[in-house]
C-alpha cells in the first residue's frame, strides 16, 4: 500500500484510492462539486484541486482523479490552491448565481465579490448528469456536444431521446437545478446568506444531527437573521 503524506499527515492508502479518498478518510475537507462516490470521477469542476510536490516539483491536480502513489506529498490548502479555488468558484457563481450549492461554497471559501458579469446560466457543465445517466441509470440519453463556449449538455441531435426513461436521476444529482438559491438578485450575484448570516431558530441547538432534515437549517423554513459576528453581510443588507 503506497504511503503518502497529506498536509503533513502520513497515511498508508489502498492502491485504488485517489488523493480525495485518502483526504476524506483523514477527515480533511476538500471542496468538491462534480465528485460523487457512486460515479467515476471526471475532474471537471476543478474545485477539489490540491498541490502535489514530487521530487522538488510542484503541480496542481484534481484530487478526485489523482491516484495515490508512493511518496506523494499533498497540500490541500496551500496558498496557490486556495487562490485558484477562489477564482474557480467566482467563475462558477458568475456563470450560475442561482445555485445554492455554489453560493454556499463561495461563502465558505470567503469569496466577497464576484468580479465577472453574471451570465445567469442554468448549467455549469460539471457532467454529473451525464455520468449519472450513463453509469447508474444505464440510460446514455444525454451527453456533451460542441466545445468551448458552445458546449452544452443535450440529447443526441437535440431531439427527445428514446433512451430516456424520465427517471429524473439527472435532476436529482444536479448541483444547480436541484438546490436553487432564491436569495440572489440580478444586482448582487453573490448571496451566501445561508452560510453566513442565517441560522435555524426552530431548535435551540442545531447541527446536522438535530435538524430533522440534516440540513443545518438549509431548508429555509425556520431561519431568521443571526445576531452578532457577521457584520459586513448585515451591512449589505441594511443598504438594501
Amino acid at each position: 500500500m503506497p504511503n503518502i503524506k497529506i498536509d503533513g499527515i502520513n497515511i498508508e492508502a489502498p492502491k485504488n484510492w485517489t488523493v480525495l479518498d485518502a483526504a476524506k478518510f483523514l477527515g480533511l475537507e476538500i471542496p468538491s462539486l462534480c465528485y460523487d462516490p457512486g460515479l467515476t470521477a471526471g475532474g471537471n469542476c476543478r474545485l477539489c484541486i490540491v498541490e502535489i510536490r514530487e521530487s522538488g516539483r510542484s503541480k496542481i491536480v484534481s484530487s478526485c482523479t489523482y491516484p495515490v502513489q508512493e511518496g506523494l506529498e499533498v497540500f490541500t490548502a496551500s496558498k496557490r490552491v486556495v487562490n485558484a479555488r477562489k477564482i474557480i468558484i467566482e467563475l462558477l457563481v458568475a456563470q450560475c448565481p442561482t445555485s445554492k450549492t455554489l453560493q454556499d461554497l463561495a461563502a465558505k471559501m470567503g469569496v466577497k465579490k464576484v468580479r465577472f458579469m453574471p451570465k445567469w446560466d442554468k448549467c455549469i457543465y460539471c457532467g454529473l448528469c451525464v455520468r449519472m445517466c450513463e453509469e447508474q441509470m444505464t440510460g446514455k440519453a444525454i451527453g456533451f456536444t460542441n466545445r468551448g463556449y458552445n458546449l452544452k449538455i443535450t440529447t443526441p441531435f437535440d431531439v427527445t431521446s428514446e433512451d430516456c426513461r424520465r427517471c429524473g436521476g439527472c435532476i436529482y444529482i444536479c448541483p444547480v437545478c436541484m438546490a436553487r438559491c432564491e436569495g440572489t438578485q440580478p444586482s448582487e450575484v453573490l448571496c451566501g446568506r445561508c452560510e453566513n448570516s442565517l441560522q435555524p431558530t426552530c431548535l435551540d441547538i442545531f447541527d446536522n444531527y438535530t435538524c430533522w432534515m440534516g440540513l443545518k437549517g438549509d431548508c429555509g423554513t425556520c431561519i431568521t437573521e443571526k445576531d452578532g459576528n457577521n457584520n459586513d453581510l448585515r451591512e449589505v443588507k441594511k443598504n438594501n
Binding site: I124, R147, L151
Partner: protein
C-alpha cells in the same frame, strides 16, 4: 515492385538504386507543397512540360516536383540543380525563356534573387541570407525527394538506418540508447525527453501485449506549418522514424493522426504507406525478420485540443476529443488501455538522422539540454516569411533579422509571438534570448510546435491577447470549468478593454484569472492558455493602461477606441469623417460648423497642417489616402467666399473671472478662445505689435497668406477678447502683478523662437542671419540684406521656408540647403522639400559647417565637412559622424542658420516657476499645470518647436484644466473615446460612381508651376474645385460607422 523477404536482398536493391548513375543533365526542382500550389507551382510545372514537349527537349533536362523548401516569400520558384540556382517569384511568361537558359547552361541574371541588403543578385541558394544562416538537416532533404517516389528517398540514404538496425540483433536496446544519448526532446512543444519516453514504453506490457505508436500530426497552431511540410515533402522519413521506434519499443500498431485539413499530406502519406507495404517494409513479417508493424492514418476533424495526447487518444478511440488528467500516462494506459507512445512528426523525422549520424555527432548541434535543429515557421510582419531550420540555442535576433530580413518596410519590430496560442509574446528588447525550451519558458512563452509571428508597431498587443483568447475560448474542449469559463472571461474582459470600457481593476483580475487558469487546468491547453495574456501583460502593461485610462490604442487597430483613424489621430479631435460626409452631400455650411466647432484656426490649419489624419487613413491600404486637408481647405475657402461663419456670437452668460494669457500664438489664442466661449473674461498679452505668433511672423506668405490668417484671427477676436499688444512679460509686468490685478489664472504660451547657434568659429560675422529672424523680417516687410550666393544650414521646416523665401526675394543667384543627415531623416515636410527642389533649390545632404571664413568682419566663405551615418541616437535617427579630411570650402555671401529653435525662458527666471534640466518649464504632461498655483503653460514653450495643430491642442487642453481649476474641481485630464458628435447617413453611390471611385486616386491639385512661382509670394496650391471635392469626399470609407454605435445608427436609419 517486388516484395522483399530478406533484409540482405532489400539492402542490395537499395544500394543498386542509390548507386544508379545520374545522367549529366540539369534538373529543375519545383516546390509544390500546398503553399507552392496555391502560388501557382502546378501551372509552372505544366508550362515547363508543355515547353519541353513542344520544343522536343526530351533527355536534356529532368524535372522534380518536391514538397515545400521553406522559402514561402519566393513562391513560385524553380531551382536548377546541380548549381542550385534559384529563380524566385516566377511569372508564367518567364518560364519558357528560363527553361531555354537552363538547357543552354546560361544564367538569367535579371531573374535571380535580389538581396536588398547587399544590393546584389544571388546566384546559388546558399548565397541568399535566408538560406545562408540556416542549418538545415530535416528540411534540406525535401529538395532531393519527390514525395511520391520511394526511390528518391532511397537515393538520399533513406531506410538505411532502418536496415542497419535490422541487421543488428540487439537493435531495440541500441536504438533506445542512441535516442537517449542524443538528448532529443519532443518537438511538439513540451520538450519531454524522447529517449526516456521510449524506454518507459519499452518496459511496458512485458513484450507480449499490443503497443501503439502514434505520430501526432495534428498541427493546429495558427501560422505554423512545419509538420505539414515534412509530411508533404518527405513522408518516408516519418515512416522510417516510426519503424525504428516500433523496433525499439516492440510496438505492433502505428497510427498517424493527421488533420483532415491537410489533404496533400494525407495523399502523400497514403502513397508512401502503400509503397512501403509493397516492398515489405510494413505489415506482417517485415523483410522476413518476423517483425510485425503496420501503420494506419486517422484523420482528425480539426479540433485544436486533439493535439493534446490524452484528447488525441480519445479521438483515436472514436470518442469526443476531451483530455483527461494524467496519471495514468499514455505510456501505461493509452489507446484502448494499451501502452501508447505519442511523438510529434518532427521528432520522428529526427530519428533516422540520429541513427545514421550516431548520437555523438548529433549532439554537436545545439546547446546543452537542447540538441539538434528545430524548424520554425516565421510569419507576420517580416520580409522573408517561411520555414526556418536552425540549431536550438540560436538567438531570436538572428532568426528575425539575419534570416527573416527584418521588417518588410523597415519599420520597428515590436515583439515576436512564439508557440502559437499556447505561447507568449517576447518583446524586442529580449531578442538576444536563445531559442531553447528553458529560456522561452522563463520569458513566459513556450517553444510549442515552432510558430513565430513577428509583430510591428502597428500591432496592438491587447488585440493580440484578445485574438488568442478568442481562439482558445472556441478551442477549449469545455470539460474543465476553469479553462472553459476562464478563457471566456479573459476574452470578455479583453474585449471590454479594446472597446475602451475597461477598468483599471481589470488588470489585477486578468492576472489572477490567468494564473488560476494556468495552475488549475486539467490539460496542456488550459495550462498554457493564459500565456498570451500573461506575457503581454508582463511586457506591454503600458498599452493596457493606455487603453483603459487614456482610451488610446497606440497601434491604431482597436476599432471601438479609434472609431475613425483620421479623427483619432487629430490632436484636437476634428471630426473629419463628419465634415467629409457633409461635403459629399454638398452641405458645406454644416461641414464648416463641424470644423469650427473644434478648431478656431480652421482656415490656417487647412493650409499648413501636417495632416496626421491622412497618415493611417483606411483608403490608403487599397489606393491613396483621402486628401483630408484639401477637403478642409475647400470648405473653409467656401466659407470665406460666401461669408459663412466669419464671426462667432459672444457667450450669453459672462463669468466675471479674469484669466491672463501670455503669448498670442496658436496655443495662446485657442486657449483664450475656448475660455472666452465659456464666458470667462480673457486678456491676452503679446510682446509683438501683431498677434498670431509664428503664424504671423514666420510662416511665409506663399504658404499662409495674410488675409487667410486675418480671417481666422478676426473670427477668434469676435468672441470678445481683450488683446494687449506690445506688452512683454518680465518687462512690462510680471506674474505677481497679474495676480494682484485679480487675474485668477495665467496661461503662458510664449513659444520657441530663440534660434540656436552653430557653435563654430566666425558665427558673429556680418552676413550670418538666423532663419526665424529672416522670416520675420520678410513677413513684416522689413528690408533684409541678402547676398548673391546663399547657403542655408538646417533641415527643418524653417530652413526650407527660409530658402524658398530668399529665392522669392529675387536678390540671389543660388540658394543651397546644407543638411547633416540624409533626406530620410530630414524633419521638414516631404512636400515642402519636393517643392523646394522643384523651384531649383539645391540640397546638399550629409554635410555640416565647421568654420566660417570672413573678411573684415564680413562672411566670405564657409568650410563644410562631409558626414556619414553612424549608430542611432536617442531620437531613433542615425547619428551623423564626420568623415575625416573631407572638408571643402564654399563661397557664400549670406549664411542662414536654421538649425532649430528653443524656448526662451530668461524672462521667467524670477517668477518662482520650476524648470527641467533642459531649461524648459516643468509641467504636468496631462494637465499642463506648473508648480506655481494658478499658472499653466503649454505649446512650443514646453515642447520646443512643434506643429501648429499640436499648439492648438495644447491651448485647448490647458483651457480645460484652467476651467477645472477655476471652478474648484480637481484638475484632471478627461479622456474619452473618439466618437463623432453626429452620425451622417452614408451616401448611396450609383454604379457609375462606384466604378469611377474604384481607381481610388487623389485629385490632382492645380499648382502654380515651379518655374513661375519662385518669383513671388503667391500661394502655390489652388483649392479643390467643387466637383473634385465632392468626388474625393465620396471616396471616404466611413470608418466612423464601423463601430457598434455607428452600426446601430445605420441600422436604425434603415428601419426609419
Amino acid at each position: 515492385m517486388k516484395k522483399y523477404n530478406s533484409v540482405r536482398e532489400f539492402y542490395n536493391f537499395m544500394l543498386s538504386v542509390s548507386q544508379e548513375q545520374k545522367p549529366d543533365i540539369p534538373c529543375i526542382v519545383i516546390s509544390a507543397g500546398t503553399c507552392g500550389q496555391a502560388n501557382g507551382a502546378s501551372d509552372i510545372a505544366r508550362i515547363i512540360k508543355r515547353h519541353v514537349l513542344e520544343h522536343n527537349l526530351h533527355g536534356r533536362l529532368s524535372l522534380r516536383i518536391t514538397g515545400c523548401l521553406g522559402n514561402c516569400q519566393m513562391e513560385p520558384f524553380i531551382l536548377i540543380e546541380p548549381e542550385d540556382i534559384i529563380y524566385p517569384n516566377l511569372k508564367a511568361d518567364d518560364v519558357p525563356q528560363l527553361v531555354d537558359a537552363v538547357i543552354n547552361g546560361r544564367v538569367a541574371e535579371d531573374k535571380l534573387y535580389y538581396d536588398p541588403y547587399s544590393m546584389k543578385r544571388c546566384h546559388a541558394i546558399k548565397d541568399i541570407p535566408f538560406f545562408r544562416y540556416q542549418q538545415s538537416v530535416i528540411l534540406e532533404k525535401n529538395q532531393k525527394v519527390d514525395p511520391v517516389r520511394i526511390t528518391d528517398y532511397f537515393k538520399t540514404g533513406g531506410y538505411s538506418a532502418f536496415v542497419k538496425a535490422l541487421f543488428d540483433s540487439d537493435a531495440d536496446r541500441i536504438i533506445v540508447d542512441e535516442v537517449t544519448k542524443s538528448e532529443l526532446r519532443g518537438r511538439g512543444g513540451a520538450g519531454f525527453p524522447t529517449g526516456l519516453k521510449w524506454k518507459l514504453t519499452k518496459e511496458q506490457g512485458g513484450g507480449s501485449a499490443e503497443k501503439f505508436l502514434i505520430c501526432n500530426a495534428d498541427e493546429g497552431d495558427p501560422g505554423a506549418y512545419m509538420d505539414r511540410s515534412i509530411l508533404e515533402g518527405n513522408p518516408h522519413s516519418i515512416l522510417e522514424g516510426m519503424l525504428l521506434g516500433a523496433m525499439a519499443m516492440k510496438a505492433t500498431r502505428g497510427i498517424v493522426y493527421a488533420r483532415s485539413e491537410y489533404p496533400l499530406a494525407i495523399k502523400h502519406l497514403t502513397i508512401a504507406l502503400r509503397q512501403a507495404k509493397e516492398y515489405g517494409l510494413l505489415g506482417k513479417n517485415i523483410l522476413g525478420t518476423g517483425l510485425d508493424f503496420d501503420i494506419s492514418i486517422i484523420k482528425g476533424a480539426g479540433s485544436f485540443v486533439c493535439g493534446e495526447e490524452t484528447a488525441l487518444i480519445r479521438s483515436v478511440e472514436g470518442k469526443m476529443g476531451q483530455p483527461r488528467q494524467r496519471p495514468p500516462f499514455p505510456v501505461k494506459k493509452g489507446v484502448w488501455g494499451y501502452p501508447t507512445c505519442i511523438n510529434n512528426v518532427e521528432t520522428f523525422a529526427n530519428i533516422p538522422v540520429i541513427i545514421n549520424e550516431t548520437a555523438e555527432n548529433y549532439i554537436k548541434t545545439g546547446i546543452e539540454k537542447n540538441r539538434g535543429t528545430k524548424i520554425f515557421s516565421l510569419v507576420g510582419k517580416i520580409r522573408n516569411t517561411g520555414l526556418v531550420e536552425v540549431p536550438l540555442g540560436t538567438k531570436i535576433r538572428k532568426v528575425v533579422y539575419d534570416i527573416g530580413g527584418g521588417h518588410p518596410e523597415n519599420k520597428k519590430i515590436k515583439a515576436i509571438q512564439t508557440g502559437g496560442p499556447s505561447g507568449g509574446c517576447i518583446p524586442e528588447k529580449l531578442f538576444d534570448l536563445s531559442i531553447d525550451y528553458e529560456s522561452l519558458s522563463q520569458a513566459g512563452s513556450i517553444m510549442g510546435s515552432g510558430g513565430m509571428i513577428v509583430m510591428d508597431e502597428e500591432t496592438c498587443m491587447v488585440d493580440v491577447a484578445k485574438y488568442f483568447a478568442d481562439f482558445l475560448r472556441d478551442e477549449s474542449c469545455g470539460k474543465c470549468s476553469v479553462c472553459r469559463e476562464g478563457t471566456q472571461r479573459m476574452h470578455e474582459i479583453l474585449t471590454n478593454i479594446t472597446e475602451g470600457k475597461g477598468k483599471i481593476e481589470d488588470l489585477q483580475l486578468l492576472e489572477e484569472l490567468g494564473n488560476a487558469v494556468k495552475d488549475a487546468s486539467m490539460c496542456g491547453l488550459g495550462q498554457t492558455a493564459a500565456n498570451p495574456l500573461l506575457s503581454t501583460l508582463r511586457y506591454f502593461k503600458d498599452e493596457f493602461i493606455d487603453h483603459i485610462i487614456k482610451k488610446k490604442c497606440t497601434a491604431g487597430t482597436c476599432q471601438e477606441i479609434i472609431s475613425s483613424s483620421c479623427q483619432y489621430n487629430c490632436p484636437i479631435d476634428t471630426e473629419a469623417p463628419v465634415y467629409i460626409s457633409y461635403i459629399a452631400k454638398k452641405k458645406y455650411k454644416e461641414a464648416l460648423e463641424i470644423i469650427k466647432k473644434d478648431n478656431p484656426f480652421a482656415s490656417v490649419v487647412a493650409r499648413v497642417c501636417h495632416h496626421p489624419c491622412e497618415r493611417r487613413c483606411k483608403a490608403n491600404e487599397s489606393g491613396d489616402a483621402i486628401s483630408i486637408r484639401n477637403l478642409k481647405r475647400f470648405v473653409t475657402d467656401f466659407g470665406l467666399k460666401n461669408k459663412l461663419l466669419l464671426h462667432v456670437l459672444p457667450p450669453k452668460q459672462k463669468i466675471d473671472i479674469k484669466v491672463a494669457i501670455i503669448g498670442s500664438g496658436p496655443a495662446g489664442l485657442s486657449c483664450g478662445f475656448t475660455l472666452a466661449e465659456k464666458g470667462y473674461n480673457v486678456t491676452i498679452f503679446e510682446k509683438h505689435s501683431v498677434i498670431g505668433g509664428m503664424l504671423s511672423l514666420a510662416i511665409p506668405e506663399y504658404r499662409l497668406p495674410q488675409k487667410i490668417l486675418k480671417a481666422d484671427l478676426d473670427y477668434i477676436k469676435s468672441i470678445g477678447l481683450d488683446i494687449q499688444t506690445n506688452k512683454s512679460l518680465g518687462k512690462d509686468f510680471n506674474l505677481d502683478l497679474l495676480f494682484k490685478k485679480n487675474y485668477k489664472a495665467v496661461f503662458i504660451a510664449t513659444g520657441a523662437y530663440k534660434s540656436m547657434n552653430l557653435g563654430i568659429q566666425g558665427e558673429n560675422s556680418n552676413g550670418v542671419i538666423h532663419g526665424i529672424k529672416l522670416l520675420t523680417d520678410i513677413k513684416l516687410g522689413k528690408e533684409v540684406n541678402i547676398g548673391k550666393r546663399v547657403a542655408v544650414v538646417g533641415g527643418g521646416n524653417s530652413a526650407v521656408d527660409a530658402a524658398r523665401s530668399i529665392l522669392r526675394l529675387g536678390k540671389s543667384d543660388s540658394v543651397t540647403i546644407f543638411y547633416r543627415r540624409t533626406i530620410a531623416e530630414m524633419p521638414a515636410f516631404k512636400e515642402e522639400i519636393e517643392a523646394a527642389s522643384d523651384e531649383g533649390i539645391k540640397i546638399e545632404f550629409l554635410t555640416s559647417p565647421c568654420k566660417i571664413i570672413s573678411d573684415k568682419g564680413k562672411i566670405k566663405a564657409c568650410e563644410f565637412i562631409r558626414m556619414e551615418l553612424g549608430e542611432p541616437d536617442e531620437s531613433g535617427r542615425r547619428r551623423p559622424v564626420p568623415v575625416k579630411h573631407s572638408e571643402f570650402i564654399v563661397n557664400v555671401d549670406t549664411l542662414v542658420v536654421s538649425v532649430g529653435e528653443q524656448p526662451d525662458t530668461s524672462f521667467l527666471q524670477e517668477e518662482k516657476i520650476e524648470f527641467t534640466k533642459w531649461g524648459t518649464i516643468k509641467i504636468n504632461d496631462e494637465t499642463f499645470t506648473t508648480n506655481r498655483h494658478g499658472v499653466f503653460a503649454g505649446g512650443d514653450l514646453v515642447t520646443g518647436p512643434n506643429t501648429v495643430i499640436d499648439a492648438i491642442s495644447a491651448g485647448k487642453i490647458a483651457a480645460e484644466s484652467i476651467q477645472q481649476f477655476l471652478t474648484g474641481k480637481e484638475v484632471k485630464r478627461k479622456y474619452k473615446l473618439t466618437r463623432p458628435s453626429v452620425y451622417v447617413k452614408p451616401i448611396e453611390l450609383s454604379e457609375k460612381e462606384q466604378e469611377q471611385l474604384f481607381e481610388a486616386k487623389r485629385p490632382k491639385i492645380i499648382q502654380h508651376c515651379a518655374k513661375d512661382r519662385k518669383y513671388d509670394f503667391f500661394v502655390i496650391e489652388k483649392t479643390l474645385t467643387e466637383k473634385q471635392a465632392e468626388k474625393e469626399a465620396k471616396r471616404c470609407l466611413r470608418c466612423d460607422i464601423m463601430t457598434k454605435e455607428g452600426r446601430e445608427f445605420v441600422e436604425k436609419d434603415k428601419i426609419v
